[in-house]
């Protein structure tokens, strides 16, 4: 329905992107370098305070690497700006920044270094935890629930119970899925909360066994949710699902406004790995056309690990494509076409 957006080459010295941008970068093109440089430019050129910066990555290791590299870069740039002549490096990026407005930019970068600890550089789950916290009592989330990383035990007991219940209820053995089959289907269903599991109960042409699998996956998923509530725990997926729900809820509007006011630049790394729920959260927060926050998505569409994680398996329909098209529709697209260690 939408025309394929025009993809233009990305350049570090071009005008800073405002609004929504997607930067496509293949492996080895210096994606992190681009992200760090953009952040430095926002700070130096546009007086974005480091506390107004939101950088979201997907793993904890990526988060700490990015944090460390951004700080290091700020220190290097500050060194260069304080005395461009004395600086021995041929750091063209820093040199570019030194051309205009040098004293003010130096002051901004220096302040960013001092206040660096207040930057929000976090994983998607860390971000979700923070935002849910700011939603408070009205978020519909149990604030006392503790986050659990690995829920395999719960998944397994739920599948066993659901299967036992069906078998005890006289469902013929031939129609029942195997335990392993049920487990892996439920695991996939839990990983993509938005998926409708097919075939539905009334679907024409589906075999009894297929419909039975659907039924049991739905039950197992509900069982897991119920048991988590009893135990006062929450999974990371729950966290995001609840955040999305809360952002659309009563306190949501105020929160969205507050978040947009707090962050003037949001950089999302590895956006190819955002799942539909995560994407919804970002677009609810920053996605409106007139949003004050610049939303910049950086990623390598060729590396989407999410595609492999199962949502396109036969009985769990696609949703992933939608997310990426949404991302693509997000305003403008830039592509890093060659390695950007240096400016031309």
């Amino acid at each position: 329905m939408t025309a394929e957006p025009v993809v233009r080459p990305f350049a570090l010295d071009a005008a800073l992107p405002r609004g929504q941008w997607a930067i496509q970068a293949s492996a080895g093109t210096g994606k992190t370098y681009a992200l760090v440089s953009l952040a430095v430019r926002f700070i130096a050129e546009q007086d974005v305070e480091v506390s107004q910066l939101l950088i979201v990555t997907f793993t904890r290791a990526a988060t700490s690497e990015l944090r460390s590299r951004l700080r290091q870069r700020l220190v290097e740039v500050a060194d260069h700006l304080s005395d461009p002549a004395a600086s021995e490096t041929d750091d063209k990026f820093a040199a570019m920044l030194a051309v205009h407005d040098r004293p003010r930019r130096l002051e901004r970068v220096r302040r960013a270094i001092i206040e660096f600890d207040s930057a929000t550089i976090t994983t998607i789950h860390g971000f979700a935890t923070q935002i849910l916290g700011t939603l408070g009592t009205t978020s519909g989330t149990d604030p006392d629930a503790s986050l659990v990383d690995n829920d395999d035990d719960l998944l397994e007991e739920a599948c066993a119970d659901v299967l036992a219940t069906a078998a005890d209820g006289g469902r013929p053995f031939g129609d029942l899925p195997g335990y392993q089959g049920l487990r892996s289907a439920t695991e996939r269903a839990m990983a993509c909360p938005d998926t409708d599991i097919v075939p539905g109960p009334d679907q024409v042409g589906a075999s009894l066994a297929q419909r039975m699998l659907t039924e049991l996956v739905v039950k197992a998923r509900a069982t897991v949710t119920d048991r988590r509530r009893r135990a006062g725990t929450m999974s990371y997926d729950d966290l995001l699902t609840q955040l999305r729900q809360a952002l659309g809820g009563p306190g949501g509007t105020a929160t969205r406004k507050a978040i947009r006011e707090r962050f003037s630049v949001a950089l999302i790394d590895e956006f190819q790995d955002t799942d539909p729920v995560q994407w919804d959260v970002f677009s609810m927060l920053f996605g409106e056309e007139d949003a004050a926050t610049s939303l910049i998505l950086v990623g390598d569409p060729k590396q989407a690990i999410f595609r492999l994680s199962g949502c396109q398996r036969p009985h769990l329909p696609r949703r992933r494509g939608v997310a990426r098209n949404d991302a693509a529709r997000a305003g403008h697209q830039l592509e890093i076409r060659r390695r950007i260690g240096e400016l031309p």
Partner: protein, 1131 residues
């Protein structure tokens, strides 16, 4: 009159306090009132004052301090608010009571539309938890937004910064007013202005001496409210504020900043005071102090006369080390000058990067030992403070790595692996960490809401207070573990209990009830008879001596069941406390000398009950199990235990309790990014949404605690952090705060010295404590090897010696003990597994069973092994005359069969498979049943005089009699080897009979599911006997060798070697069935890969004449089989 004293050093400040007190002592009947900011500071200050006060002459430290009251500053406010209130009439606005007020009001207003947003309780959330959070909020507002509360009281909905309260927060003021009505007394902010007025004019009757001091303030707890209070107090009394300041900001400079904007408050985001801080660490870490300075300046104006800067006698001396210079620069608030020349040996500031948490603790231990060992430093353990932001995670590691404290009774001369023992104390843990009974109580509350899976219950039974109450010793626990396994407990107390989790109560098996029935029956009758069951209960045998333990287990489970039922209902807090007290007595006890543990639990329960009050609306609120769980988490897990400071040795604590107290060595353990608070705002907290100067801020407070730690370190600051991920080996960047510290240190150092300073600043430690580099001088340290750990040294040396090759299991064969008479059954056992024979029979070692994780789910998908056990059991049952139906009934009772249709299908499969095996054996003439099994005696004399005796059970009837092995297994090689050995023994004893030996087994194939393999001797008569005797001679030879040393003879693997088809995957395959995973094989040959195994050289006396040992034994054994018998497939 109010006086201020400022110093960067707590010891100087304490000296100044002592001087103040000594100059004008109070009336001896009055307590000296000194407010302190922490438990640690309280104890330290008292010790410090005792050195100064009443000393025999100046300079000596033989004084004494008595008659002191050292409360927290917050108690000043409590005093004022409580003025005129009787002791037995507690303040209803006090936080512990306020929680219950909020809860009861929220309950009573469930239908109030204005509270809609608030009353929607997320599923699984607790109402108590919610009330607790709201009460905390209100309490915070009372201190930090009194103005807003007064507006609320006057029906004005404002947000604290003078703007209208946003609609989605409107429930807060509404609820607050409901609580206010319920309490029926004005709130603290409403009363306070008048109370302060009375205080100023001396009309307020409070129990405070004429002199009040607040000591060691690094920030202002309570912000401007505290100052207001002090100012009012100072009208009639002497108020002394002793400020522990990282640096002192000039009042003039502070006053030059823009003034307060909103209702006398400064909005934090508008605060420019950071520009006053010249030192980078003061800027990024010192905000709470800066804000305190601002508030003080606002309160006092520019008049400096009431302030005394306590003189530092050392201020004039040169600061030679990096740490000293850093501290000096911070204290003087000047930018690092980059002029310090750093000595090569300057280790005053040291960073250590390690792999993972345990290594961090090991490195910390060695770093401390190096400092203690240095003769010129004259350090003792009391000089060392270890602060750890993530103490709950690190405390167990510290205890494991440090070993018992050197002064404890458990201490030996050296630590866990031969390192010197340290005297130390992990202080500042929660009450439940310190008290096993309280810990057991929280676990009990968790347990009753859970599924009661086998593992969790066993863990609960193993808790010290439970063990003590039910008198379970280690043997009992092992027995109980064994019972659980045999009786098939998976989860659920009873089938009704399981129904609560949505599992139909028609599934009766695998519950605790079912298991207990089986065990109790087993204590009365024996389980000898196959498949005995009475009234649908299959017996699990219990030994006579264990019956008593079983009784105690039954009682424990009964009490848990009862408690679980009560937990599923609602009760008032009074009823809950009653219930929990009773159950605690039923379930826990402590030895007499530890009676305090039980008393602490009773006290905690009484405390909770008291906070709700008696006959109040709160005491009528019905609470459910989730509420009680939250309540106890709140009261037990999050409550700090009794502090254990200054009792000798190294103190290990969290960031805060000892902040500001000087130590010669300060160590920061676990200085990792995620250990420091990131400070998430609570979206309900109106104060946090619009913070003003002086508001509490967890994140900034954490940073300032670091700043204080840097300043408190007298000689050394040791920072230990994670440098590499312990699993992925990925490098972990320094936490931002450490980058900041490092940058500040670098900026202090002269540019010429920076290169060598960076090198000596941080040590990158190797992954393993037994790495060579830990023991080589110059690798991690210039003048000494790093590690003190003798055990690790031995490890490193052993690793060097091995140089890549594994030593043999034994270096030479054991002394032979040849026996003249060999039992045929021993030969059979040997042939079945030669390596295991050596380990278990010659060495008499008991091999561990390969441990499988305890199953805690319903048995819907039996593993291959479980199916095999069932099939094997069915085959045995059928051969002993039982019907398949009878067998299935018993297995169902045992809980080994999956529920419903899955179980039916499984039984169907098993019965079909067994039917086919039995059909095949019937075709061979084997009818089964009694009397068809005929033992044939065997007695063979070998040429060397060895006799083989025993008997062979034969099932096949003449004309071709012999043994038949009917097995449910698919792999039949070991059965074929056993069948061959029987055949040889029979032929050698009686060469005339036409013997044969048959194996009936499954194939796993659809087309011909059963294999019948028949072994016949090549020859009968004398020729046959000679061949059989030769074969037996060979087996006995192997048997003797294999009894003196492990011989590399295996079943499937050796056969593939014999056939020339061996592959590496046969040896070390990924499949559990490969040879090298067998426990005995793993023990003896576990270090050998395929190539190394095949390269094992032959020994003198080994059979054959070419190839390695494995090949020789394989060819000889399977060659002997081929030479003596024909194998024929009868299917």
């Amino acid at each position: 009159m109010m006086r201020l004293y400022s110093s960067g050093r707590a010891d100087l400040l304490a000296g100044r306090l002592a001087a103040t007190l000594a100059v004008s002592p109070l009336d001896p009947m009055e307590n000296e009132w000194v407010g302190v900011s922490s438990q640690g500071m309280r104890r330290w200050l008292l010790l410090e004052l005792a050195r100064h006060l009443g000393a025999s002459k100046p300079g000596t430290e033989d004084g004494a301090a008595a008659n002191f009251e050292l409360p927290f500053p917050g108690s000043l406010l409590v005093q004022v608010l409580g003025a005129g209130r009787a002791d037995d009439d507690p303040d209803p606005w006090e936080i512990e009571r306020l929680v219950w007020m909020v809860l009861s009001v929220a309950e009573a207003s469930a239908d109030d539309p204005a509270l809609n947003a608030f009353n929607r309780l997320p599923e699984g959330a607790s109402r108590y938890g919610k009330a607790r959070r709201v009460a905390d909020l209100f309490d915070r507002y009372h201190v930090h937004r009194p103005h807003m509360i007064r507006q609320w009281a006057a029906d004005l909905d404002r947000n604290g910064l003078g703007r209208p309260l946003p609609e989605h927060h409107a429930w807060q003021s509404h609820l607050w007013r409901l609580v206010r009505t319920q309490i029926g007394e004005p709130s603290p902010p409403e009363r306070l202005p008048e109370l302060l007025n009375d205080l100023r004019e001396g009309r307020l009757n409070i129990h405070l001496p004429p002199r009040v001091s607040l000591f060691g303030l690094t920030s202002l707890p309570g912000g401007s409210s505290l100052l207001e209070l002090c100012e009012a107090l100072a009208a009639e009394r002497d108020v002394h504020l002793f400020l522990l300041e990282p640096t002192h900001f000039n009042v003039g400079a502070l006053a030059a900043l823009p003034g307060p904007e909103v209702s006398g408050m400064r909005v934090r985001s508008e605060d420019d005071s950071a520009t006053l801080a010249a030192h980078p660490l003061l800027r990024s870490w010192g905000r709470p102090h800066r804000e305190a300075s601002l508030l003080l300046a606002d309160a006092r104006g520019t008049d400096e006369s009431s302030l005394e800067l306590v003189e530092d006698p050392l201020a004039g001396e040169p600061a030679g080390t990096v740490l000293a210079r850093l501290q000096r620069d911070i204290g003087a608030n000047r930018e690092p000058s980059g002029s310090l020349h750093v000595g090569r040996g300057d280790r005053s500031l040291q960073l250590h990067a390690c792999h993972g948490a345990t290594r961090q603790v090991e490195v910390l231990r060695d770093a401390i030992l190096h400092l203690l060992a240095a003769p010129d430093l004259d350090l003792v353990e009391e000089d060392v403070l270890v602060i750890c932001p993530a103490l709950p995670r690190f405390a167990p590691l510290v205890e494991a790595v440090f070993g018992p404290s050197a002064d404890s009774s458990a201490a030996t001369s050296s630590g866990p692996s031969g390192s010197p023992l340290l005297r130390y104390r992990v202080a500042d843990r929660s009450v439940s960490d310190a008290n096993p009974v309280l810990n057991a109580m929280t676990l009990l509350i968790d347990l009753v809401g859970s599924r009661f899976d086998a593992t969790s219950v066993l863990d609960f039974i193993s808790l010290a207070p439970v063990r003590h109450r039910f008198d379970f010793d280690d043997d009992d626990l092992a027995t109980i573990g064994d019972w659980l396994e045999r009786s098939g407990v998976r989860w659920g107390l009873t089938s009704q209990h399981r129904a609560g989790f949505g599992v139909p109560a028609t599934i009766l098996t695998n519950t605790w009830r079912a298991a207990l029935d089986r065990l109790l029956l087993g204590s009365a009758i024996s389980d000898d008879a196959v498949g005995l069951s009475i009234g649908e209960v299959a017996v699990v045998g219990v030994e006579g001596g264990q019956v008593e333990a079983l009784g105690r287990l039954a009682e424990l489970l009964w009490r848990l069941t009862e408690l679980t039922e009560m937990f599923s209902r609602q009760h008032t807090i009074g009823e809950w406390i009653h219930l929990l007290s009773d159950r605690a007595m039923d379930l826990f006890s402590a030895p007499v000398e530890l009676a305090w543990q039980m008393q602490a639990l009773s006290a905690a329960l009484i405390d909770v009950a008291a906070s709700a009050g008696e006959g109040t609306a709160a005491s009528e609120v019905l609470l459910n199990g989730i509420d009680v769980r939250r309540l106890f988490e709140d009261r037990l897990l999050n409550t700090p235990g009794r502090p254990d400071f200054f009792r000798g040795g190294i103190t290990v604590t969290t960031l805060k309790p000892l902040r500001g107290i000087p130590y010669r060595v300060v160590c920061l353990l676990g200085a990792d990014e995620n250990a420091f608070v990131t400070g998430n705002a609570d979206g309900d907290d109106l104060a946090a949404l619009g913070p003003v100067v002086g508001d509490p801020d967890a994140r900034a407070d954490d940073r300032q605690a670091l700043l204080e730690a840097v300043l408190a370190a007298g000689d050394y600051l040791v920072v230990v952090r994670e440098g590499h991920d312990v699993r992925t080996n990925q490098e972990v960047p320094r936490a931002v705060v450490l980058e900041e510290l490092r940058d500040a240190a670098l900026a202090t150092v002269h540019p010429d010295d920076r290169a060598h300073f960076v090198r000596q600043l941080e040590v990158n430690h190797p992954r393993q404590a037994f790495d060579d580099r830990c023991f080589i001088t110059g690798e991690l340290m210039d003048h000494a090897p790093w590690s003190f750990d003798r055990g690790d040294l031995e490890g490193a040396e052993a690793r060097r010696d091995r140089a890549g090759t594994s030593p043999p299991f034994i270096t030479s064969p054991l002394i032979s003990r040849p026996e003249d008479v060999v039992d045929l059954s021993d030969l059979q056992a040997f042939v079945k597994h030669p390596v295991a024979w050596f380990v278990t029979r010659r060495l008499d070692a008991r091999l561990p069973r390969s441990a499988e994780a305890r199953e805690t789910g319903l048995p819907v998908a039996p593993s291959g092994l479980e199916k095999w056990k069932l099939g094997d059991g069915l085959l045995a049952a059928r051969r002993s005359g039982l019907t398949s139906e009878a067998w299935a009934r018993i297995e169902r009772q045992c809980g080994t069969i999956p529920p419903g249709s899955i179980g039916e299908a499984l039984i169907g499969d098993l019965v079909t498979a067994v039917d086919r095996l039995l059909e095949a054996s019937q075709n061979l003439g084997i009818t089964g049943g009694a009397g068809t099994d005929l033992p044939v005696d065997v007695d063979v004399v070998l040429p060397d005089g060895t006799r083989i005796v025993g008997n062979v059970h034969t099932q096949l009837t003449p004309p071709r009699p012999g043994p038949a092995r009917i097995t449910y297994s698919k792999s039949k090689l070991d059965h074929r080897m056993a069948a061959w050995l029987d055949l040889m023994a029979l032929v050698a004893s009686d060469p005339v009979t036409d013997w044969r030996s048959v194996v009936v087994s499954r194939t796993g194939l659809q087309t011909h599911p059963v294999a019948v393999t028949e072994l016949s001797p090549h020859h009968r008569g004398n020729e046959g006997r000679a061949a059989a005797v030769a074969a037996l001679e060979f087996v006995v030879d192997c048997f003797r060798k294999g009894s003196d040393e492990p011989i590399p003879l295996f079943t499937a693997f050796s056969e593939s070697v014999h056939l020339g088809k061996q592959k590496a995957s046969h040896w070390a395959g990924d499949f559990g069935s490969s040879e090298s995973t067998n426990v005995a094989t793993a023990l003896v040959y576990g270090d050998y890969d395929f190539e190394a195994l095949m390269a094992l050289p032959a020994r003198p006396g080994d059979p054959g004449d070419s190839g390695g040992r494995v090949e020789r034994f394989a060819h000889a054994f399977f060659g002997a089989m081929e030479a003596s018998a024909t194998v024929e497939d009868l299917t």
